[in-house]
């Protein structure tokens, strides 16, 4: 399908399905009084400081992962090491070391949406050079054994979905996306990054079933289907404009982390000068995004002190934080 036609087809499908999804699944409101901690760390560059900072962040969140299986899930998209498409390998290595120091059994996994050559992409992105014995700790989630997960109250058209068994069975899934704008959903952050747990071996490249079933609804479904999660967002150099692939680098100099992916994504949107209340998948996943935003307690930097205006495509001007 040509770009314009495909866009119209998918946009039409997504809108219709999102509406249909609303009638099927009820958005789950977060408990009103539950406080959600989100760490915002000012980190100007990819330096050795990251190792200490991530240790400190994990301590702030009091994660008990001793003896637990932790899966780090970065965002690998393309073979372009000089472009801010992929999660930086130094951040992933710093997370690996920090979780290992807490006694966790840590592995890394990713299942890219467009390109099949995951390990080759990881090599091009610098993962082999940065992370010792990378190949031994890595699983291509697209080619992993699959588990069919029934969706209890789906927001998309899907009733069930085949996910990587490793992603489903780990004790803690750590979503490590790049902070980027996204031409289909506005912003791609820790929740959208969960698309990489969906089996490419089953659904293909791209995982078009997620488009046909409604992208926002599928993001919300995955958020609920994979509840044992944590997020560490690479916002040191993100991407603005025509993300997630062809945008331009945007230096915001932050790492954002927390136990609740939705709360982390709300904070990231605010940092990017995007109104999280206008991000469809956040609305579907949590219902009252404003209430969720009020429940967030930020540790470290305040959003206002690190806010960086990410350029948006004209089609997405409506999500700008006013």
């Amino acid at each position: 399908m040509a770009g314009l036609n495909r866009r119209e087809f998918l946009t039409g499908s997504a809108a219709g399905l999102a509406l249909a999804g609303c009638s099927r699944g009820r958005a789950r409101r977060p408990p009103a009084q539950r406080e959600r901690l989100v760490s915002i760390v000012r980190q100007p560059d990819y330096s050795q400081d990251l190792y200490g900072e991530l240790r400190r962040v994990l301590a702030e969140h009091r994660l008990n992962v001793r003896g637990k299986r932790v899966l780090l899930k970065p965002n690998l998209v393309e073979f372009e090491p000089d472009s801010p498409i992929n999660t930086h390998p130094l951040l992933v290595h710093a997370a690996l070391e920090a979780f290992r120091e807490l006694g966790a059994e840590v592995s890394i996994g990713e299942g890219p949406g467009h390109r099949r050559n995951t390990l080759d992409m990881a090599e091009a992105a610098g993962y082999f050079a940065t992370i010792p014995r990378f190949e031994e700790s890595f699983t291509d989630l697209n080619l992993d054994q699959v588990t069919e997960v029934r969706l209890a109250r789906p927001h998309s058209r899907l009733q069930s979905i085949y996910l990587s068994q490793r992603a489903v069975s780990c004790d803690l899934l750590v979503s490590m996306p790049k902070m980027k704008t996204h031409h289909w959903v506005g912003a791609t952050l820790s929740m959208k990054n969960l698309f990489g747990t969906v089996s490419g071996g089953v659904y293909g490249w791209p995982k078009n079933i997620l488009h046909c079933a409604g992208i926002p609804g599928c993001i919300a479904d995955l958020y609920h289907a994979l509840p044992r999660h944590f997020a560490i967002v690479d916002g040191i150099v993100g991407m603005e404009g025509n993300g997630p692939i062809q945008g331009t680098p945007k230096r915001s100099g932050v790492v954002v982390a927390g136990r609740d992916l939705a709360a982390v994504d709300v904070s990231c949107c605010e940092i990017m000068s995007i109104d999280p209340r206008r991000i469809e998948y956040l609305k579907l996943a949590v219902g009252d995004v404003e209430a969720l935003a009020r429940s967030i307690r930020q540790i470290g930097e305040r959003v206002e002190s690190v806010r960086t205006r990410f350029a948006l495509l004209p089609e997405w001007s409506g999500i700008r934080l006013s």
Binding site: G3, R6, F79, V202, G204
Partner: protein, 280 residues
Amino acid sequence: MVSLLESQNPDGGWPYQRGGPSWTEPTAYALLALVAQGSAAEPVEKGLRWLHDAQLPDGGWPPQPAVRQSTWVTAIAALLGPAALGGDAYRRGIVWIVEQTGEETKFLSRVRQFLTGNPQGDPGWPWLPGTSAWVTPTALSMLALRKAARGAGSPPILARLEMGAAYLLAHACSDGGWNHGAARALDYDARSYPETTGVALLALSGKESPRIRKACAWAQAQLRRCRASEAESWLRLGLLAHGQLPPNTPSPGRPPRTIQNAALALLASTAVAGRNAFLE
């Protein structure tokens, strides 16, 4: 080839990664490669038995037995032909392939396209039923149907082959090659990928057009700076199909990191040596 034989699972199938569960895609590619090499009969027979058992009642193949849904991997299995699969299993597989089209070419989508003034072109093939058509499943389905057409070229098969070629030509990227199938996104040109360019060129074997010549030039440039074994293999196969593989092309330099990539590398080498399992 030794590596392929050693990585066969006890159940007869092949995994993507050694020691993993058997999947249809690596199994079919491994069998194609072993058959093309005239390899030992026993592993091939075991593999074919695995494939036979995996076929679903609708005639298609699932990506792996745990998934009860026929998908694009049916085309790769069908490339093995009736002699390997058995006449009935093969015929049912071909019928399944012929019946698949992208969701965008279904009636309701056509109506919407008519109303919005965005008519879609010819139908390609989706990764799985109920979704849109994309380059790789279209190219693989065309390769399977080309083989079937040589045996008994029925009008529906020949018609689908022409539609598939039209789909591919309509979905080339502006830089000359193909990506997954979205040449433009939100009015921006998207970039081509080497692996999809290679498989599309292979599927368009025998066709001539300025667009194909441009794709060959793009593929030749990519082959020199390839960073993945799969891409290298498909580019070699695609260029070879159009007589455009430069004669002094060095041997593949990237290590195959999955079983299906090892099989593809072997299939590409065998094709360069004169026996193209995709086109024979």
